[in-house]
């Protein structure tokens, strides 16, 4: 044997084992196991801050997980490799089956076996009609009942009818698997040409669909960040409605928008589950929160910080925390960092702590802690805008402000004023041109799945021979599986046949079905990809 043929043989061997059912099963189970870390550990594409926090808290484990790609499980090479292998295995398994099935669809039901004795159902009918006429009646009845029918005249002159039903089972089975493959392909295409981004937009401010406007942006691999479809959107008003118990019932975001660079004058009301379509993208309302308006003045009264800063809600009471970082107090003086909590409806607990009694801003207040020192803003290390690293800072005071109130000097004579607040909405903008394909593929897969699990494949043969004063018909039937259900169907079919045929002088229709109905498991069942 030459080297090339042996190489080809071993290649064929490994292809065969890759496309075998066992390999596919093992890959399937591995895929299930591989998905687990993605649900238990924070994921970078979803929450990069949580990943950073996790790594810093679990030193060694964090770094090991990071090296293994556990923080981006579904983008990790081993996960992608696993489902790519599964796809290859699936394609390899499907192609010969599709070939086989198209041949079966074009083919004719096979000729009757020599003996019907050992089939799941067999029966003998007698009729006054001649052989050909009787078999014509049988064939017509079976055709009417949507069997694929083949009428044969054999070499020895005998005649038979062969009928088959349930090829749809394999059609459904193949449709399911092709559908699943198409779903995977559609997901991949969507990831390549779609995009998805999230931005926090404060009431009264606008948003243009450019990369810099986003807090997080995942552009498709084939799409540059500067290729986003242009549109503008302004959040005029945000409103949350609550029950008396504080459970939210509705979120409403009134926006103005326009495609391109036009003045936004179209209005819309965004709600959860009711996205806005603009410029081929869709805008979703994901979350909301409060943004206190804080002004910091230096000791001369000059404004050195004046911003509406989004705070992050901590729980259902919407007590929200955030940070104010004032780098430019006075040259030479320490910088000021303020860690603050916005309390929508302030109340005092029994232990003296402040808490929020209600998520809506009925009695808002701001509690704060001020620190002075080097905030490290110039160090070049990226910082979380919602957190203040207090190591190395000196706490210089703290307190509690109502709207309009000004604090005691924080550091270097600077004071902070809690002017008021606005609300913010977290918007998600997304476009996935392939999602229609994915939906169609998923529906095809589901339809195929139901078909392949419901339809049963079975065959019936009828042989006619001349008898006393007419014809003796031998009927045999064989299901691919599920003998019990078939026997009932077979008996009903025999009754129909004997009703359709002209009766013999003495009609005897005796049905002999399998004596013992063997359990379904014992009958060999075919492999499916």
């Amino acid at each position: 044997m030459s080297a090339t043929t042996s190489a080809r043989a071993s290649l064929r061997q490994s292809w065969r084992s890759l496309t075998s059912m066992r390999t596919a099963l093992v890959l399937l189970f591995l895929l299930a196991v591989a998905a687990v870390p993605g649900s238990l550990l924070p994921q970078r594409p979803i929450d990069p801050v949580a990943v950073q926090r996790y790594i810093s808290r679990h030193d060694v484990a964090g770094r090991v997980y990071d090296a293994l790609g556990f923080f981006d499980t579904f983008g990790a090479p081993w996960f992608v490799g696993l489902y790519a292998l599964l796809c290859v295995s699936l394609v390899g398994c499907l192609m010969p089956r599709i070939r086989l099935h198209t041949r079966a669809l074009r083919g004719r039901p096979p000729a009757p076996p020599r003996s019907f004795e050992r089939l799941a159902g067999h029966a003998r009918l007698e009729t006054a009609a001649p052989v050909t006429g009787a078999l014509d009646v049988v064939a017509a009845l079976l055709r009417r009942r949507r069997w694929r029918v083949e009428r044969r005249t054999h070499d020895d002159g005998s005649e038979s009818v062969a009928a088959e039903k349930g090829l749809l089972r394999e059609t459904g089975n193949l449709a399911f698997h092709v559908g699943v493959l198409a779903v995977i392909a559609g997901v991949a295409v969507g990831a390549l040409i779609g995009y998805e981004g999230r931005a926090i937009v404060v009431e009264g401010t606008g948003f243009t669909n450019t990369a810099v406007a986003y807090d997080e942006l995942e552009p498709g691999r084939l799409r540059g960040v500067d290729e986003l479809p242009p549109f503008t959107l302004v959040l005029d008003d945000f409103d949350a409605e609550y029950t008396a118990g504080g459970q939210p019932t509705d979120f409403l975001a009134d926006v103005r928008y326009a495609e391109g660079l036009d003045e936004p004058d179209a209005t819309a009301r965004l709600r959860v589950n009711h996205p806005l379509s603009v410029a081929g993208s869709r805008v979703y309302l994901l979350a909301h929160g409060y943004a206190p308006h804080i002004v910091v003045r230096d000791r001369t009264g000059q404004v050195i910080y004046d911003e509406v800063t989004p705070f992050l809600p901590q729980d259902g009471s919407f007590l929200s925390t955030g940070v104010v970082k004032v780098p430019d107090v006075v040259p030479g003086l320490p910088q000021i960092g303020v860690r603050a909590a916005f309390i929508p409806t302030v109340d005092v607990a029994a232990d003296g702590r402040l808490y929020s009694r209600f998520p809506d801003a009925r009695a808002p207040a701001l509690s704060y802690e001020a620190f002075a020192g080097d905030l490290g803003l110039d160090s070049g290390v990226p910082q979380n805008v919602y957190e203040l690293e207090t190591a190395g800072l000196v706490r210089t005071g703290g307190g509690f402000l109502l709207p309009g109130e000004t604090s005691e000097p924080l550091a270097g004579g600077a004071t902070m004023t809690f002017v008021g607040f606005r609300e913010w909405a977290n918007l998600q903008v997304a476009r996935d041109p392939a999602q229609g394909v994915v939906l169609v593929a998923a529906v095809v897969a589901l339809a195929g799945l139901v078909t392949s699990l419901r339809v049963r494949r079975r065959r019936v043969w009828v042989r006619g021979s001349a008898g006393r004063g007419g014809t003796v018909l031998d009927v045999g039937g064989l299901p691919r599986r599920d003998r019990a259900a078939f026997v009932a169907e077979f008996d009903a079919l025999i009754e129909r046949l004997s009703a359709a045929l002209p009766p013999a002088q003495t009609v005897t229709a005796q049905t002999v079905t399998a004596q013992t109905v063997t359990p379904e498991t014992v009958t060999a069942e075919t492999e499916e990809p």
Binding site: A35, I46, F74, Y284, L439, L446, P519
Partner: protein, 350 residues
């Protein structure tokens, strides 16, 4: 605030009554299963003669046909025929009485099911929406689906014995739902306020309930399979109590059929969830923990359906896969909702 506090209270009470029915039914099924042990408890027969048997049983035995297999318990072959028949008959009576208890258990289950249906409907009326908006309500609907599936099965096949194993998770599930997961009647959070709630969650509940029935059949299969194997290993022939429990092969078939029904429903639930996710969050799939576990569950059940027809995976190995898949399903529900924070955190549990 509940729109109709009275109705909500009525619903809670009806659910408690339904659970009580299920507990009673469970005891009934268990009693029917356990009744066979009475045969073991009979006084040992010295010399195996008729005299040692109570007259009444011996009388009954006269003129009756023995069971086709001619013995009642492995390893007790070869005693004299009369004693054998007497003991068989005794077992027969015991079994008839047990059968009565079993049939009564089915009736009690049906009563519990009716109460349960009314409980779910009144809950829906009380909150003026579909009654599956939080974990308490969802648990109730899942169990309703499981009991419905079981009753449909019992109506078609002699599988009453499955009841003990179906009722156990149902009672635990409902018990957890009504205590740990309980949430007072209230309107929906905005994220759930969509008609997809009706479709996606209903499909998920039906699939989960049906998988629960399949799981019960699988568990029973594993037990029965072990028993049949042990008996074969002993070389003693027939399994004890074979007349009571369906054969391992039959249980395996039931588990497969029920799973084959539930799997497309689960597939549909996942697809409907993806469509809803697209409408609510702007992407149809984002590997949120709930989505991930729904995927894991789907993959495992798909593996089971593919594995079972394979000669080398048939039987116990497939059953183990199906059991693991059910554990994943339970984690997808309890684990993800209670321990992992994600977009599906609407449990309504404090």
């Amino acid at each position: 605030m509940p729109a109709h506090a009275g109705l909500a209270d009525l619903s809670d009470s009806l659910l408690v009554a339904a659970v009580l029915c299920y507990v009673v039914a469970m005891l009934g099924y268990a009693a029917e299963l356990a009744f066979g042990t009475r045969r073991r408890a009979l006084p040992p027969i010295a010399g195996g003669s008729t005299e040692t048997l109570p007259d009444r049983w011996a009388d009954v035995a006269a003129g009756t046909t023995p069971r086709p297999d001619g013995r009642d318990r492995a390893g007790q072959i070869g005693r004299d025929r009369a004693g054998q028949i007497g003991r068989d008959r005794a077992a027969q009576i015991g079994r008839d009485r047990a059968g009565l208890v079993g049939r009564a258990a089915v009736v009690v289950t049906a009563v519990g099911w009716l109460l349960h249906v009314v409980a779910v409907v009144t809950r829906g009326l009380a909150v003026e929406r579909v009654p599956w908006g939080n974990m308490y309500e969802f648990s109730s609907v899942v169990c309703l689906a499981a009991v419905t599936g079981f009753l449909v099965l019992v109506a078609r096949q002699p599988v009453r014995h499955l009841g003990a194993v179906v009722m156990l998770p149902v009672v635990i599930y409902l018990g957890l739902g009504a205590t740990v997961l309980y949430a007072p009647a209230s309107p929906l959070v905005p994220a759930l306020n969509s008609y997809w709630l009706k479709i996606h969650v209903a499909a998920a509940a039906i699939a989960s309930g049906t998988f629960m029935v399949a799981f019960a059949a699988t568990l029973l299969y594993l037990v029965q399979d072990l028993r049949e194997r042990r008996v074969t290993a002993d070389g003693a022939g027939d399994a004890p109590g074979r007349g009571r429990l369906p054969s391992a092969a039959a249980l395996d078939t039931i588990a497969y059929r029920v799973t084959a029904f539930a799997f497309p429903v689960w597939t549909f639930a996942v697809i409907a969830g993806a469509i809803w996710a697209e409408a609510a969050w702007g992407r149809y799939w984002g590997w949120d923990p709930k989505e991930t576990w729904a995927f894991i569950t789907w993959v495992l059940y798909a593996g089971y359906l593919h594995a079972r027809p394979l000669p080398r995976w048939q039987g116990r190995r497939a059953a183990v896969v199906s059991t693991v898949a059910f554990v994943a399903l339970m984690f997808c529900y309890f684990g993800v909702n209670l321990w992992i924070s994600g977009l599906h955190s609407y449990a309504g549990v404090d």
